[in-house]
């Protein structure tokens, strides 16, 4: 037997409520009497949920509008700090987008910049380009490792590496971001990188000592950088050699250039 909703206020904790079953014939009552056991019309049920859903949506939109600028500002700050770190402290950086097969700081207005590959070119205080920071992501041991590395096309060396996000095993694989000796391996190493087990280095300039006990995660980091440079290395070197970087320096007052102290950029991809 179904009960009216306002009768349930006094129910006890242990009471078992049966699912409401509409009484047979209640809807099409031929006598025209108001059916006493019909609980609530379907319209009211739908209206209640629709109203509640609308209100919930409104609240969520308000919170979203409050939180989204903060979340984006945080992501931009993290990115800026990472670029600063892997390039060895540039004065400012600017974003170059890959349009077609060449990099440019001024993509055509029709292009969707969010979908374009990009690198970040860092400049020192004198306005000389220091290198490019490149973000990359590939599966590691547990999940996708996202990192950013600095690359100096002039010398052909990786100059820095920072793990942005990883879910590698705590205490073992997560050393790829926490072990300062491993991170330091990535400053001034020739490409393509070659991972060697600790203590077996032969002295060639492209060797990276891997972490004992975290060989897979270490190798993943090395492979991510190598793969990324296989794809982007040629256009980066071309961009670097073409003098376009110097031209970008002259246009340093344009809004595409970003000062390290005042972040204004999109999220890491």
């Amino acid at each position: 037997m179904s009960r009216r909703p306002d009768e349930r206020d006094g129910g006890s904790d242990s009471e078992v409520r049966l699912p409401m079953v509409p009484d047979v014939g209640a809807e099409g009552n031929a006598s025209g009497d108001a059916p006493r056991n019909v609980d609530v019309s379907a319209l009211r049920l739908v209206a209640t949920l629709a109203l509640a859903g609308g209100l919930a949506g409104l609240v969520i939109v308000l919170v979203y509008q409050w939180s989204q600028p903060r979340i984006e500002a945080h992501q931009a700050r993290v990115l800026t700090e990472a670029i600063y770190e892997v390039l060895g402290g540039p004065e400012r950086y600017e974003t170059a987008f890959l349009v077609g097969d060449a990099f440019t700081v001024a993509p055509p207005a029709t292009a969707d910049t969010a979908a374009l590959e990009r690198v970040y070119v860092g400049f020192d205080e004198a306005g000389r380009p220091m290198g490019v920071a490149v973000a990359a992501a590939e599966p590691g041991f547990q999940d996708v490792i996202r990192l950013i590395f600095g690359f100096d096309p002039g010398s052909g060396e990786v100059v820095g590496m920072k793990v942005l996000e990883s879910k590698e095993t705590p205490g073992l694989g997560d050393k790829i971001g926490k072990d300062s000796a491993f991170v330091a391996e990535f400053s001034g190493v020739a490409v393509p990188l070659a991972g060697v087990k600790a203590g077996r280095a032969s002295g060639t300039p492209n060797e990276v000592d891997m972490i004992t006990g975290a060989t897979i995660s270490s190798r993943a980091v090395i492979d991510i950088i190598n793969h990324r440079l296989e794809g982007l290395g040629a256009p980066i070197r071309q961009y670097w050699a073409s003098g376009a970087v110097e031209a970008g320096r002259a246009a340093s007052d344009e809004p595409v250039s970003v000062s390290v102290s005042g972040p204004r950029t999109g999220g890491v991809r």
């Binding site: 206020d9 409520r17 509640a52 205490g171």
Partner: protein
């Protein structure tokens, strides 16, 4: 109907009917995100916020929500608060939000919250619903803190990120990995069960036939947890 006083509504969820340690509800977040104290606190506070907000709204709207769609309406209310908590955490403490990952969104299906709406908030006044939500939420935080503290101290040698031991300490890494969550929960439940049953003494007199056991119940000064909770069934 069980008549309870306001004090009982507030306090029973903290200890006697602790949602995790006694009712064994909400074990998924209790196992998954308690590898550090900071994560445990953030998860506990987020759940507390959702539970309190949902209980207030459900209690206020108990006469408006038709009984047939009450579960849908509760889920809608809970999901709204969870989404708010998710966005607020992402904006205010991004690092912790990243560490908690999907488990913030999964508060929606935390049975502690829906259980308190269906069993309590939908039948009581707003004041009582608030007391119950505060008590239950605090109990959840207490349980997560116990697990988070245990696991971070043993597994990382630190508490809230501050190193406790010298460099000679070798962290017991398994404690911050998933198996450590099960070990910790098992040991805490064992200790809790022992504490609850400390008044029950088994006596086995020498001359009685083999295997006969006499149980003597010594009155429990703190309150008869087993009988009052009722959550684990007849003892």
């Amino acid at each position: 109907m069980n008549v309870t006083t306001p004090q009982q509504d507030l306090l029973r969820g903290v200890w006697k009917e602790n949602p995790v340690l006694v009712q064994l509800l909400g074990l998924c977040p209790a196992l998954a995100v308690t590898n550090t104290v900071a994560n445990a606190i953030a998860m506990g506070l987020a759940t507390f916020f959702v539970l309190l907000g949902s209980s207030i709204l459900v209690s206020l709207l108990k006469n408006v929500i038709p009984s047939e769609v009450r579960i849908s309406a509760y889920i809608l209310i809970i999901a709204t608060f969870v989404t708010m908590a998710d966005m607020i955490l992402a904006a205010v403490v991004p690092d912790i939000h990243k560490a908690l990952g999907a488990f913030i969104a999964l508060i929606v299906v935390n049975c502690i919250i829906l259980g308190r709406q269906e069993a309590f908030a939908s039948k009581r006044s707003v004041g009582r619903a608030i007391l119950d939500a505060v008590g239950t939420g605090a109990g959840f935080i207490v349980a997560l803190l116990m697990m988070g503290g245990f696991r971070e101290v043993l597994g990382n040698g630190s508490f809230l990120g501050h190193a406790l031991f010298g460099p000679g300490f070798e962290p017991w890494i398994i404690m911050i990995l998933p198996p450590g969550g099960f070990f910790t929960l098992g040991f805490i439940l064992l200790a809790f069960g022992w504490w609850k049953d400390r008044g029950v003494v088994s006596v086995k007199p020498r001359r009685w036939p083999h295997g006969v056991t006499v149980q003597t119940r010594i009155p429990d000064p703190v309150g008869d947890v087993a009988a009052a909770s009722g959550a684990r069934g007849a003892r």
